[in-house]
C-alpha cells in the first residue's frame, strides 16, 4: 500500500473540510477559527508526513500519474502526480501550512468581532489546497487551474484588511502582476503543446528535443518571465514588497514562504524536465538574474524600517540565491557535469526549504510584534526582548539562520551553493565561466549585508528601550502563536544540524531532474560531516561546530566557577556617561544604522535628504527641526512608472473609439465585416 499517497488525500480532505467548516460556522467566529485552522493544521501535518515519507522511502520515485476524473476531453482530465519533485514541494507547503495554522489560532483571534474570521480560515484552507494541487498537478490543465486559484485566493487574503487604502492598491497591483505571469506561463505551455500535442506532464517530458531552437528559447523566456514574476526575481519583483507586508502576517508568512516557491517549482519542472538539454546561456541568464536579485534584494532590505517590508525584500534576496543554484545547475547540465548539476540543484532546493522555514518563522515573529505593538515601523519598537522574551529568542534564531551563520540551516545551503559555484570555474572553457566566481563573490557580499540587516532588524526592534508607548505596553503573545514559531525554529535547527539526513531524502529529486542522486557522496563520518563531491571540494560539520562552540562556552563558565568563587557580583545600571538617564531618543535609529551603507551604495539608492532648522541665535539651539530622508526605488521610478504612464496614455487614445452612440457601433460592425470579407476573398 502507498500509505503516503493516502495521507496526501487525507490532507486534501482536511483542507476541504476546514474550508467548508469555517464557512458554515462563520457566524460563530471563535468556533470557525478553531475548526478552520485546526483542520488546516491537521491537513498540513498529514501532507508533511506524506511528503517526507514519500521521499525518505523512495516511494515517490516509483509513482506514476493517477487520473481521478477522466473529464470530457483527453486534455481536461484531473491528473495528479506525486513524483519526488512534487513531494518535496508538498513537504514545504504542508510544513509551513501546519505551523502557520497553529500560529493563526492565536493570531487571528485579534480579528474576532471585527472581521469575518471564518472567511479568513476558509480562504487559508483553500489556498493551501490550491498550492498543494499546483505542486501535484499531473497535466497543464490542472496546473493552470490550481495556479489561477492560488493567485485569486492569495489576492483575497492580501485584501483581507481592505479598509486600508494602501492594502487595496497593493492587492490590485498583485492581481495585475499575477495575471501577467499567468498569461506568460500559459503561452509557454502553448508553445510546448505545439510539439507535444499532449497536455499531460508525462507527455511533455523531454518535449524540448522536438522544438526548434527558436521555439525553445521563446518558451524558456516566457516561463522565466512568468515564473519569475511569481518568484519575485529582479526586475519583476516590484509587487512583492508591496503586497506581502499588507496581508495579515500569517498570510504573509505563507506567501513569502511557499507561494513564491511555486515559481521555483515551475522553473525546476519546466527547465529540467520539459525543455531539457539547455543551451549554456539559459543557465547563465538565471545565474545572472539570481545574483542581481540577491544583491539588490538585500540592499533594499537594508533601507527599510518597515519590519514586514524588510522581510519581503529578503525574500527577493533568498529567491535570488535559490535561482543562482538553479542557474548554475542548468549550466552544469549543458556542459555535461551531472554531479555538479546535482550539487547545485541540491543547494537550490535545500535553500528553498530553508527559506520557507526561516522566513516563515521571521514573518510570524514580525506578526507577533505587530500583534503586540500594532505597528510595523521599527522606529517605534525597541525593548521588546524584555516584554516578549520567547518571541525575541525565536526571531533571533530565524535571524541567525537567514544570515547564513553556522550552525543553522541557512549556512548549510549557502555553503553548498558556494561549493557548486567555486567548482564551476573549471567546468567549461566558455567565457561565461567567469560568472561562477563573480556569483560566489556576490553571494558573499549578500551574506554579509544580510547579517548587517538582521543586526539592525533585531537590534532596533527588540533591544534597548521602547521607543513608543505601544512598544512599552507590549506583552508576550499567546502560546499557540509561540508554538507555531517554535515548530519552524525546530525545522531550522534540524536542517542546520543534520544536513546529510535531509540530503538523503533529496536524493530522488536530484535523480529525477539531473539523473544523479549523489547518494552517499555528500556525507562523511557516518553522516556527521557534510562533504561536497569534487577534487577540490570542502567539507563541513555543523554538528561539530555546535559542539565546539558549546565547549568554548564551558571555558568561561568553568573559569568563573574556579576563580570567581570569592568574587561578588554587583548589578548596576547601564553606564550612561553620567546623564540624567537614558531615553529612547538617544537610541540608534534604523535609519541611522543603515546610513553608512546608504552612502556607500548611493549610486543605487540616490538618497534624498532634507533638513530644516528654525533657530534664533545659533543652529545648535534649534527651536524646531525637521528631517526627511528617503531612497529612490529605481525599478519603480525608471521602469514601472513610465510603463504605466504609456499604457494609460494609449488607453486614453483608444477610448476615443467608445462613443456611446449606437450608429457608430453599427458602423464598427459594418467595417469589421467588410474587412473580414475582403480578407476572406
Amino acid at each position: 500500500m502507498d500509505y503516503p499517497a493516502i495521507l496526501l488525500i487525507v490532507a486534501a480532505c482536511a483542507y476541504v473540510a476546514g474550508m467548508a467548516g469555517a464557512l458554515l460556522l462563520r457566524r460563530v467566529g471563535r468556533l470557525a477559527l478553531s475548526v478552520g485552522f485546526g483542520l488546516a493544521a491537521v491537513g498540513g501535518a498529514c501532507g508533511f508526513l506524506s511528503g517526507v515519507t514519500s521521499l525518505a522511502t523512495g516511494q515517490a520515485a516509483a509513482r506514476g500519474a493517477v487520473t481521478f476524473w477522466s473529464g470530457p476531453a483527453p486534455n481536461l482530465r484531473l491528473v495528479i502526480q506525486a513524483d519526488p519533485l512534487s513531494c518535496f514541494f508538498v513537504t514545504i507547503v504542508s510544513m509551513l501550512g501546519a505551523a502557520i495554522a497553529i500560529y493563526s489560532l492565536g493570531y487571528s483571534g485579534a480579528y474576532l468581532g471585527r472581521k469575518s474570521v471564518g472567511l479568513l480560515a476558509a480562504l487559508y484552507n483553500a489556498l493551501l489546497l490550491a498550492t498543494t494541487l499546483t505542486f501535484v498537478a499531473g497535466n497543464v490543465w490542472v496546473f493552470l487551474i490550481a495556479w489561477e486559484m492560488m493567485a485569486l485566493l492569495a489576492y483575497g487574503l492580501v485584501t483581507f484588511e481592505h479598509e486600508d487604502r494602501e492594502t487595496r492598491g497593493a492587492a490590485v497591483f498583485y492581481f495585475i502582476m499575477s495575471h501577467i505571469d499567468a498569461v506568460c506561463v500559459m503561452l509557454g505551455f502553448l508553445v510546448l503543446f505545439q510539439a507535444a500535442g499532449d497536455f499531460s506532464f508525462d507527455g511533455l517530458r523531454g518535449v524540448g528535443a522536438k522544438l526548434s531552437s527558436g521555439q525553445r528559447d521563446t518558451a524558456f523566456l516566457l516561463f522565466v518571465v512568468g515564473f519569475g514574476i511569481k518568484a519575485g526575481l529582479v526586475p519583476l519583483h516590484v509587487w512583492l514588497p508591496v503586497a506581502h507586508p499588507v496581508a495579515p502576517s500569517n498570510v504573509s508568512a505563507l506567501m513569502s514562504g511557499v507561494l513564491i516557491k511555486t515559481g521555483i517549482y515551475g522553473i525546476a519542472r519546466v527547465c529540467f524536465e520539459f525543455l531539457g538539454g539547455p543551451p549554456l546561456w539559459w543557465g547563465a541568464l538565471l545565474l545572472a538574474l539570481g545574483t542581481v536579485s540577491a544583491v539588490l534584494g538585500v540592499l533594499y532590505a537594508l533601507m527599510e524600517h518597515d519590519l514586514k517590508r524588510l522581510l519581503a525584500y529578503h525574500s527577493i534576496e533568498n529567491i535570488g540565491i535559490i535561482v543562482m543554484g538553479l542557474g548554475a545547475s542548468l549550466m552544469f547540465v549543458s556542459t555535461g557535469h551531472p554531479v555538479l548539476a546535482a550539487l547545485a540543484l541540491a543547494a537550490a532546493l535545500y535553500h528553498t526549504i530553508n527559506h520557507a522555514s526561516f522566513k516563515g518563522l521571521l514573518f510570524l515573529g514580525a506578526g507577533s510584534v505587530l500583534h503586540a505593538t500594532h505597528t510595523r515601523n521599527m522606529e517605534e519598537m525597541g525593548g521588546l526582548v524584555k516584554r516578549m522574551p520567547q518571541t525575541a529568542m525565536l526571531f533571533l534564531l530565524g535571524a541567525v539562520a537567514i544570515s547564513a551563520l553556522p550552525p543553522l540551516n541557512g549556512f548549510v545551503s549557502e555553503w553548498l551553493t558556494y561549493q557548486a559555484l567555486l567548482q564551476g570555474f573549471g567546468s567549461t572553457d566558455s567565457l561565461l565561466r567567469l560568472m561562477f566566481p563573480v556569483g560566489g563573490a556576490m553571494l558573499a557580499l549578500t551574506g554579509a549585508l544580510a547579517a548587517a540587516c538582521f543586526v539592525k532588524a533585531f537590534g532596533i526592534s527588540f533591544l534597548a528601550q521602547p521607543r513608543s508607548q505601544a512598544a512599552e505596553r507590549a506583552r508576550e503573545v499567546p502560546a499557540s502563536m509561540r508554538l507555531g514559531m517554535a515548530l519552524l525554529a525546530i525545522a531550522c535547527l534540524f536542517l542546520g544540524l543534520f544536513p546529510t539526513v535531509f540530503l538523503g531524502w533529496l536524493g530522488p529529486v536530484m535523480n529525477q531532474l539531473t539523473g544523479e542522486a549523489l547518494a552517499g557522496r555528500l556525507s562523511l563520518a557516518g553522516g556527521w560531516v557534510l562533504a561536497a563531491p569534487g577534487a577540490n571540494a570542502g567539507s563541513v560539520s555543523t554538528a561539530a561546530m555546535t559542539l565546539f562552540g558549546l565547549s568554548f562556552l564551558l571555558v568561561p563558565l568553568f573559569l568563573r566557577r574556579m576563580l570567581g568563587r570569592r568574587a561578588k557580583t554587583v548589578r548596576g545600571p547601564t553606564w550612561d556617561c553620567g546623564l540624567q538617564g537614558l531615553t529612547p531618543r538617544m537610541e540608534y535609529s534604523a535609519t541611522g544604522f543603515s546610513k553608512p551603507l546608504r552612502m556607500i551604495f548611493k549610486a543605487l539608492f540616490r538618497p534624498h535628504r532634507e533638513v530644516q532648522r528654525e533657530y534664533e541665535f545659533s543652529p545648535y539651539f534649534a527651536r524646531s527641526l525637521r528631517f526627511e530622508s528617503h531612497v529612490e526605488e529605481v525599478f519603480e521610478e525608471r521602469i514601472y512608472r513610465p510603463t504605466r504612464f504609456w499604457i494609460l496614455r494609449v488607453s486614453r487614445r483608444v477610448r476615443a473609439l467608445q462613443q456611446g452612440s449606437l450608429q457608430v457601433y453599427l458602423l464598427y460592425i459594418f467595417l469589421t465585416l467588410l474587412g473580414l470579407l475582403l480578407w476572406a476573398v
Partner: protein, 265 residues
C-alpha cells in the same frame, strides 16, 4: 614623508623623559614658590594681617588661638606671605604637597608647620593598583587649569604611562577617579553616577583647590564645595592649579613608587 620625519626626529632627539623619580626632580619655575610653612609661634598676639588678605578665607584665627592655614582652600597667591609682618608664613619651594587626610592640609600650631605628606595605600590596594592604576578623569566644573596640568603628565617629558598609570575613557575600566573642579550642581549627579560605575575597590583623587574645598567658589550656592561632599576622597593634591610635579608626587606617594632621592622625607 611625515612618518619618516617623525621617526627620524624622535631618534635624533633621543629619550626626553625626565629621570625623576630615579634622579632629581625638575626645578619649579621662578614664580612658583612651592609649599607654605606656618610658624604660628612667631605670630604677634593679636595680629590678623594675613586673615584679611586671604581671598578664599583659607586663613582663620580664633581669638587667643594659633593661626590656621587650610592649604586645601589656598590659591597659593602668597598675599599672606607678603602681608605677614613677622615672617610667620613663608614659601618653602617644595613641590611635595599631597595629603591623605583633609586635616593634614591644615597648617599652624606646633608640629603642624608644614603639610603632613600622604602615606601609601594599604598593602592590598598597593598589590592591586601598584603597577597598574587606571583613572577616569571627571572635570566637575573645573576651569581647565588642573585638567591641563594633569594632561601634561601624559606628555613624553613626564610619561605617566611608565608607572602603569593611565587615563581611561570608561569608568567601567577604571580603578579610580581623578576629580577636578568645585563640583557644580549640574555635575553632581554625573560625578555620583561615575563613582558608582567604577568597580570596587576604588580610589578617589581630588586635584586642585576647587575639588578639595571649592576653591574661589567656596560657599557659592551653585557648587558643592569640593568632591568630598559627594564621594570619599583618598588623596588631596592642593594647588591652583597644582604643578604637574605635585600631582605626580601625590600619585607615586599613594602607590609607594618613590624610590629615588627626592622620595625620601
Amino acid at each position: 614623508m611625515f612618518i619618516h620625519d617623525t621617526i627620524l626626529n624622535r631618534l635624533k632627539r633621543g629619550c626626553e623623559t625626565m629621570d625623576y623619580p630615579a634622579g632629581d626632580a625638575p626645578a619649579l619655575p621662578d614664580r612658583h614658590g612651592g609649599g607654605l610653612r606656618v610658624e604660628s609661634a612667631r605670630c604677634a598676639a593679636d595680629c590678623s594681617a594675613c586673615v584679611s588678605v586671604c581671598p578664599t578665607e583659607a586663613i582663620t584665627r580664633a581669638s587667643g588661638q594659633a593661626v590656621a592655614l587650610d592649604l586645601g582652600r589656598c590659591l597659593f597667591c602668597a598675599e599672606c606671605v607678603r602681608a605677614c609682618p613677622d615672617r610667620a608664613i613663608t614659601q618653602t619651594g617644595d613641590h611635595r604637597l599631597a595629603a591623605r587626610l583633609r586635616e593634614d592640609l591644615v597648617l599652624g600650631g606646633t608640629g603642624k608647620e608644614q603639610v603632613r605628606l600622604a602615606a601609601a595605600l594599604n598593602e592590598r590596594l598597593r598589590g592591586l593598583f601598584g603597577r597598574s592604576l587606571k583613572l577616569r578623569q571627571v572635570s566637575a566644573g573645573g576651569c581647565n587649569a588642573c585638567e591641563a596640568d594633569t594632561n601634561v603628565l601624559g606628555t613624553i617629558g613626564w610619561d605617566l604611562g611608565r608607572f602603569g598609570i593611565q587615563f581611561v575613557a570608561s569608568p567601567r575600566h577604571a580603578d579610580g577617579l581623578l576629580i577636578t573642579g568645585p563640583v557644580s550642581k549640574n555635575m553632581a549627579l554625573a560625578l555620583q553616577k561615575t563613582y558608582a560605575a567604577v568597580p570596587d575597590p576604588k580610589i578617589v583623587i581630588a586635584v586642585g583647590a576647587c575639588a578639595i574645598a571649592g576653591g574661589p567658589f567656596v560657599g557659592h550656592s551653585q557648587v558643592s564645595d569640593g568632591a568630598g561632599a559627594l564621594v570619599p576622597v583618598d588623596l588631596f593634591v592642593p594647588g591652583c592649579p597644582p604643578h604637574p610635579l605635585t600631582i605626580l608626587d601625590g600619585l607615586l606617594r599613594l602607590l609607594d613608587r618613590l624610590g629615588g632621592p627626592s622620595g625620601k622625607g
